[in-house]
Amino acid sequence: MIKEKSLIEIRWHGRGGQGAVTTAEILAQAAISEGKFAQAFPSFGPERRGAPVQAFNRIDSREPVRIRADVTEPDYVVVLDPGLLEKVNVTSGLKKGGSVIVNTRKTAKEIQKEFKIKYPVATINASKLAREILGVPIVNTTVLGALIKVTGIVKKESAHAPLEKRFGRLGERNINAMETAYEQVAFEEQ
């Protein structure tokens, strides 16, 4: 009997300082708290604020994650900064059946057309939400809510404890941002 694939790979695109690495970490911790196996790591190198960065997740509901190499063929791609769509080929290696989650005020159709993306796209205006809820345009925890809704990779409640641990007294606001994005994300099949 062929077992169904249980490993899900995610690649985060952001800019140094936007919190791609932190959110990958929170997602891994949420998965691990559910008894799953997970990995989170940055693209290793000198950290430069504002420069394009990547972070990676591998999440497996069944067995330990053994691969230790950058995610080059992701199931999902998350784009924290829409400006990167012009500079980085974010769908590079994206698996057939994969999808892209973008922080943008545009619609999925607009994104697909403008950047010739032939994958399903989910959109969330995380910059606006983060400004409203957190008071700063740091979008990582907001986009996390969208990712969780689109992928169902963890229960959104599982992210509460890692968010609280990471953000302390700002934990509640980040949870609110994550939950709001979970409700508002718009998903467009290709």
Binding site: I32, F37, A38, A40, P64, R68, A69
Partner: protein
């Protein structure tokens, strides 16, 4: 209480040092080791770990402080990497013949030049002959477990030798993954108090690290060698008892589908599990291939290695360091030496891979196995192959 948490491996290793209740930490920060010593400094500053944290001015001083601290009978820990280990080198040699049970984590990283902060095993190879016990780990759990185990081995009265735990920089140190932390009481039970036999004490003076003229020097070196060779028994016992207490078993040479396999690959370090995924896929394609992983680098496990490869016809070696102008991979070179006098031995194909942090992926390992089999069959004009290099 046993806990399973998602945590960065560096932080987890620092927590393991806390579980081992170290008395003294003397360290100098260097990428990619930084998070380990940073977190230890925090634990000490916050009063969570009752230890002396000595923020020294260099790695040379770090190891010097560790020598003094271990000689005074304190449980002593340090960590470094790459250039830090190179700067420390002179003093690293002193610990073993003085029989000082220091534990050091090396977050393996390449050596300059060109400057690279990324992982390979060139720093590890620069301390090969320092007389330390050297253990290599593949994942965060192994790093945590073996940090605890290392103190027990080092401080055992039959050993009294320093222990290095090699864990690849970034690919291990900077990854968040699930770690099972053993309960404090269970660690306390497993790891007895450090009873260094002749601690420095002003009331009972002893001389250590004395001057040795030619009439005695060879004997001291032989005593050091015998001590290191004999430590293997204690290391295996420490691993066996760890397995009894905590359920995770370590061995000098670990096997993965290797029994009876005609083709074997041998790995060391964090690429090992990626290679295992390649082995699974190749076996699914019908290839008779298995893997062995070297866990114990010093003392070198000759007997276990010979036993593990006895049925193999081809052994493909993966090294992450290069002995320039020499035989290529340092581990391959030792394995060849270990097998040369055996009447039945596999053909050995030696690969140097993943220098300075370049990933070897699952498909990369599959590629290497297929190429390696062909080279074993047809031969090669090269002493060794360097995978994926652009010439």
């Amino acid at each position: 209480m046993v806990t399973r948490v998602g945590i960065e491996v560096s932080i987890a290793v620092a927590e393991a040092v806390k579980l081992a209740n170290a008395d003294v930490i003397a360290a100098y920060p260097i990428t990619p080791q930084t998070h380990i010593v940073e977190h230890l400094a925090e634990l000490v500053a916050d009063g969570e770990l009752d230890a002396e944290y000595i923020p020294v001015e260099s790695e040379h001083s770090a190891m010097s402080a560790c020598l003094g601290s271990a000689a005074a009978g304190a449980r002593t820990f340090t960590a470094t990497a790459s250039q830090g280990l190179a700067l420390m080198n002179e003093v690293v040699y002193v610990a073993a013949p003085m029989r000082l049970p220091i534990v050091m984590v090396v977050a393996n990283r390449s050596l300059s030049a060109p400057l690279s902060i990324w992982p390979d095993h060139s720093d590890m190879m620069s301390v090969r002959d320092t007389g330390w016990i050297q253990i290599i780990v593949e994942n965060g759990q192994q790093a945590v477990d073996n940090t605890i185990i290392a103190f027990r081995i080092a401080e055992d009265q039959k050993v009294l030798l320093p222990v290095m735990i090699h864990q690849d920089g970034f690919t291990l140190t900077h990854v968040i993954e699930p770690i099972i932390f053993p309960a404090q009481e269970a660690v306390d039970k497993y790891l007895p108090k450090n009873r260094f036999p002749l601690p420095l004490n002003p009331d009972r003076p002893v001389a250590m690290g004395e001057f040795a003229p030619p009439f005695i020097f060879t004997e001291t070196k032989w005593a050091q060698e015998v001590a290191l060779q004999n430590s293997k028994k204690v290391i295996i016992k420490a691993w066996d008892e760890f397995a009894k207490a905590f359920g995770r078993k370590y061995m000098p040479v670990e096997k993965y589908h290797s029994e009876g396999a005609k083709v074997l690959i041998m790995t060391m370090g964090s690429a090992g599990e990626t290679a295992s995924v390649a082995i699974d896929e190749l076996r699914k394609e019908g290839m008779d291939v298995g893997q062995i992983r070297l866990r114990l680098w010093r003392p070198f496990p000759f007997q276990e290695l010979r036993e593990a490869v006895k049925d193999a016809e081809v052994l493909i070696m993966m090294d992450r360091a290069l002995s320039y102008g020499g035989p290529g991979g340092p581990v391959a070179s030792e394995v060849k030496a270990a097998l040369y006098n055996q009447t039945k031995r596999p053909k050995i194909v030696s690969y140097v891979i993943s220098l300075g942090g370049r990933d070897t992926t699952v498909s990369g390992f599959k590629d290497i196995v297929k190429q390696g089999i062909e080279i074993a069959d047809k031969g090669s004009k090269n002493e060794y192959e360097i995978y994926g290099v652009r010439e």
